[in-house]
C-alpha cells in the first residue's frame, strides 16, 4: 500500500491540533483542598473588561483606573481594594509604584537626579492636596479627557479618574518600614522562581542595600525644606524618563501639565515643549529659570519593558511598579529605587452575576464553585506583578489554593 506522506503529515497535524484544542489546563479537576481559584495572566489590564464582559473570567485584579472602570461601565463591581485584602492589615499601605534611576545617573548626575526627585516630590504633594484637579490632569494625559467605551457604554475618563484617585495614596518618603514592606515582593518573586541572580539568596539587609538608594530623596527633601532648589550644571545629552500609562504615575503627569505653578512657586519645573498635546514627549527640566536638561518622556507598556530600556541605556530614570525593578536589579541591571510614588491603588473586581459582595463571601463562593468542579477564574496582569502577589497571598491565607490557567 502506498503511503501519501503529505496526507500523513497533514493528518498528524490535525490530530495534534485537535488534542491541543481539547486539552485545557483550566478544565482539569482541581486538587482536593478547601477550594481552588484559577489565576489567568492577561499581559496587562487592557483585555480584562472584555474578558469579564464575555464571561471568560469571573473577575480580575488590576491597578487603577481599571478597578473603577468596572462599576462605571456596568461590567462588574469592586469586591475589595488592595489595602483591605486579607490577612487584615497586612496590605495596608503596600508598596506599589516607585521612582528609579540607574546607578550611573545617581553617581554621575547627582544634581539633576536630586532636582528631578524634588520635582516629583513637590508634584506628589500637590496631588494629595488637589485630588480633583489632579484627576482631571491625569484624565487628560491618559485619554485626552475623552470617553472610555466598554461594550456599548461610554464613561467619562474624568469621572473614572475622579473615582479612582481616592483609592490611591500618593506618598514618597522611603522610610525603613516602606523599604521592608517591599521585601514581601522579593520573597514572592523568589517563590515564583523569578529571582535567580543577586537577590536569589540575599539576606534582608543585603537586599535592601542592593535595591535602594534614597540619597537623592534626602537631598531633594532638604532642598525643599530650605526653600531653595540648587541649580544643576546643564546636561549635554537628552535624558530619558520612562513611565507607565497609569494614574499611579500621576506625579509625573501633574509635574509636566502644571509646570507653570511649580516654576512660579518653587523655581523648578518640567516644562513641556508642546503644551497643546495631551501627552508631551519632550520637556525641559528648568531650575531657577535655567534649562538644565532636555527630558524625553518615554511611555512603556509594562515595567519590564522600561527596565529593559534602562539596561540598554535608552532611559536613565523610570516610574515603574516595584516587582520589575526588583527583577531587573536581580539580573544585574544597575537600577536603584529612590523613593515611593504611591502605595495601594489596586483592587479586585468581580462580575455583576457573582454572589460575592466582600472577601468572606468571595471565599465561600470560590469554595462552592471549586467543589462543583468549576473553579472561579480571576485575571491578573502578569506573573509576579504586585496584583499577582496580592491575590495569591490573600487566596492562600484564606485557605484557597491557586492554579494557573
Amino acid at each position: 500500500m502506498k503511503i501519501n506522506y503529505l496526507h500523513l503529515i497533514a493528518g498528524l497535524l490535525i490530530c495534534m491540533l485537535l488534542v491541543a484544542g481539547c486539552t485545557n489546563q483550566t478544565t482539569k479537576t482541581p486538587p482536593a483542598s478547601n477550594g481552588t481559584v484559577i489565576l489567568t495572566y492577561t499581559k496587562g489590564t487592557g483585555p480584562m473588561p472584555t474578558l469579564l464582559g464575555t464571561d471568560q473570567i469571573d473577575g480580575y485584579i488590576a491597578w487603577q483606573p481599571f478597578v473603577e472602570v468596572a462599576p462605571l461601565a456596568k461590567i462588574g463591581r469592586v469586591l475589595v481594594y488592595s489595602g483591605d485584602m486579607p490577612p487584615e492589615g497586612h496590605w495596608k499601605n503596600h508598596p506599589c509604584c516607585v521612582f528609579t534611576a540607574t546607578s550611573d545617573a545617581i553617581a554621575n548626575r547627582p544634581d539633576i537626579t536630586n532636582a528631578l526627585t524634588a520635582a516629583l516630590v513637590l508634584s506628589t504633594r500637590y496631588l494629595e492636596e488637589h485630588p480633583a484637579e489632579s484627576a482631571e490632569i491625569v484624565a487628560d494625559w491618559l485619554a485626552g479627557k475623552g470617553n472610555f467605551t466598554y461594550g456599548d457604554i461610554s464613561v467619562s475618563s474624568v469621572d473614572v479618574l475622579s473615582s479612582a484617585f481616592p483609592t490611591v495614596r500618593f506618598i514618597n518618603e522611603p522610610t525603613d518600614d516602606w523599604k521592608r514592606s517591599n521585601l514581601e515582593f522579593v520573597y514572592a518573586q523568589r517563590e515564583l522562581g523569578v529571582l535567580t541572580g543577586s537577590l536569589a539568596n540575599s539576606s534582608d539587609a543585603q537586599t535592601i542595600s542592593l535595591l535602594f538608594d534614597s540619597s537623592p530623596y534626602d537631598a531633594a527633601a532638604a532642598m525643599i525644606g530650605a526653600g531653595r532648589i540648587a541649580t544643576p550644571a546643564p546636561a549635554k545629552d537628552p535624558i530619558g524618563i520612562g513611565y507607565l500609562m497609569s494614574d499611579h504615575d500621576a506625579a509625573l503627569f501633574v509635574a509636566v501639565k502644571n509646570w507653570q505653578y511649580f516654576n512660579d512657586t518653587y523655581g523648578i519645573c518640567i516644562k513641556p515643549r508642546d503644551t497643546s498635546v495631551s501627552r508631551p514627549d519632550i520637556a525641559d527640566l528648568v531650575v531657577n529659570g535655567q534649562k538644565v536638561a532636555e527630558l524625553r518622556l518615554i511611555s512603556g507598556d509594562a515595567g519590564p519593558q522600561l527596565m529593559q530600556l534602562m539596561a540598554t541605556g535608552n532611559i536613565q530614570y523610570a516610574l515603574v511598579g516595584n516587582p520589575p525593578a526588583i527583577a531587573a536589579a536581580d539580573k544585574g541591571t544597575p537600577v536603584k529605587i529612590i523613593m515611593a510614588l504611591n502605595v495601594e491603588g489596586s483592587g479586585v473586581v468581580v462580575s455583576d452575576s457573582s454572589p460575592a459582595t466582600d472577601w468572606p463571601s468571595f471565599v465561600a463562593w470560590a469554595k462552592e464553585r471549586s467543589d462543583a468542579g468549576k473553579p472561579v477564574k480571576i485575571a491578573a496582569p502578569g506573573k509576579g506583578s504586585i496584583q499577582d502577589v496580592l491575590m495569591r497571598y490573600s487566596l492562600e491565607t484564606s485557605g484557597l489554593s491557586v492554579m494557573e490557567g
Binding site: 489590564t45 487592557g46 461594550g151 500609562m245 540598554t312 535608552n314
Partner: protein
C-alpha cells in the same frame, strides 16, 4: 461591474451589524454605531484618547512605512539582481537569507531598541525587515526567469554587461520585481503595528491600536484597523494600476 467589488464589503458590514444585534453582547461583536463616530471625525482628536486625529496618525504611519520600504527597495533590488545574475553570489547569500527570512519582524524589536535606540531608526528597521525579503526574493526570481534566448541574442549582438543589465535583465525582470514591491509594501504596512509598538512612540496607527488595547477600547481598535485596511487597499490599487499600465506586455508574451 465596478460596483460589484463593493458588494462583499457592504455585505460584511450588514452581516456584522445583524450579528451584533443577534449576539447582543457588545464585547463580542460591538455595534458599528460605536465605531462610526470615530471614523466620520477623522480630523478630530476627541475620539482617540488624546492620541491625535486619525488622519494625523495615518500620515505619520505612512511616512514611517514609506521610509522603511524605500530603504528596503534600495538595498534589496541591487542585491537581488546580483544574486539572480551571479550564481556564486546567490550561493554565498542564500542560506543566510533563508535563515533570517522566517524571523518575524516583531522578534527583532528588542534588538532594534538595543542597536538603534528609541526613535525613528528602530521603527524604520522593523519595517525594513518586513519589506526586504519579498522584494529581494522576487527580484532574484525575476532576474533568473529572464529568458536565456533574450540574453543570448543580446550577447550575440555584442551587448556588454551594462547593456544586458539595463536593456534586457531589468526590463525583463521588472514585472516580477514590481510584484515583489507590491507584496513588500503590503508586509511593510502590516509591520506598522509591530514597529509602533516600540516604546517612546506616541503617534501612528499602530500606536493608536495598541494604546486603545491597553485601555480595552475595542471600538477604537476597530476604527484603527479599518483605516489601516483602507490605506492598504488604496496603495495596492496604485500598485495594480501601474502594473496594468507598464507591464501588460507580459500578458501578450507567448
Amino acid at each position: 461591474m465596478r460596483y460589484q467589488r463593493l458588494l462583499l464589503p457592504v455585505l460584511l458590514l450588514v452581516v456584522w451589524e445583524i450579528a451584533a444585534f443577534a449576539v447582543n453582547n457588545p464585547f463580542i461583536i460591538p455595534s458599528l454605531t460605536t465605531v462610526v463616530p470615530i471614523l466620520i471625525h477623522p480630523f478630530s482628536s476627541s475620539y482617540t484618547l488624546g492620541t491625535g486625529s486619525l488622519v494625523w496618525n495615518a500620515a505619520i504611519s505612512i511616512q514611517r512605512v514609506g521610509l522603511g520600504f524605500l530603504i528596503a527597495t534600495v538595498v534589496a533590488i541591487p542585491l537581488g539582481i546580483l544574486m539572480g545574475r551571479f550564481q556564486a553570489l546567490n550561493d554565498a547569500f542564500d542560506s543566510l537569507i533563508e535563515l533570517l527570512r522566517p524571523i518575524p519582524p516583531l522578534a527583532w524589536v528588542p534588538l532594534a531598541l538595543a542597536w538603534f535606540k528609541i526613535g525613528l531608526t528602530s521603527i524604520v528597521f522593523i519595517i525594513f525587515i518586513g519589506a526586504f525579503f519579498p522584494i529581494l526574493l522576487n527580484t532574484i526570481d525575476g532576474v533568473k526567469a529572464v529568458k536565456k534566448t533574450w540574453l543570448e541574442v543580446a550577447m550575440t549582438l555584442g551587448a556588454g554587461e551594462r547593456q544586458i543589465l539595463l536593456k534586457v535583465l531589468l526590463p525583463g525582470a521588472a514585472p516580477t520585481i514590481w510584484t515583489g514591491l507590491r507584496v513588500g509594501f503590503g508586509i511593510a504596512w502590516m509591520c506598522v503595528v509591530a514597529a509602533e509598538w516600540l516604546p517612546g512612540i506616541s503617534q501612528g496607527l499602530g500606536y493608536l491600536i495598541l494604546y486603545a488595547y491597553n485601555f480595552g477600547q475595542t471600538n477604537l481598535i476597530i476604527a484603527g484597523m479599518v483605516v489601516i485596511g483602507l490605506i492598504g487597499l488604496a496603495i495596492d490599487l496604485v500598485f495594480k494600476s501601474v502594473e496594468r499600465k507598464w507591464f501588460s506586455w507580459r500578458d501578450l508574451e507567448r
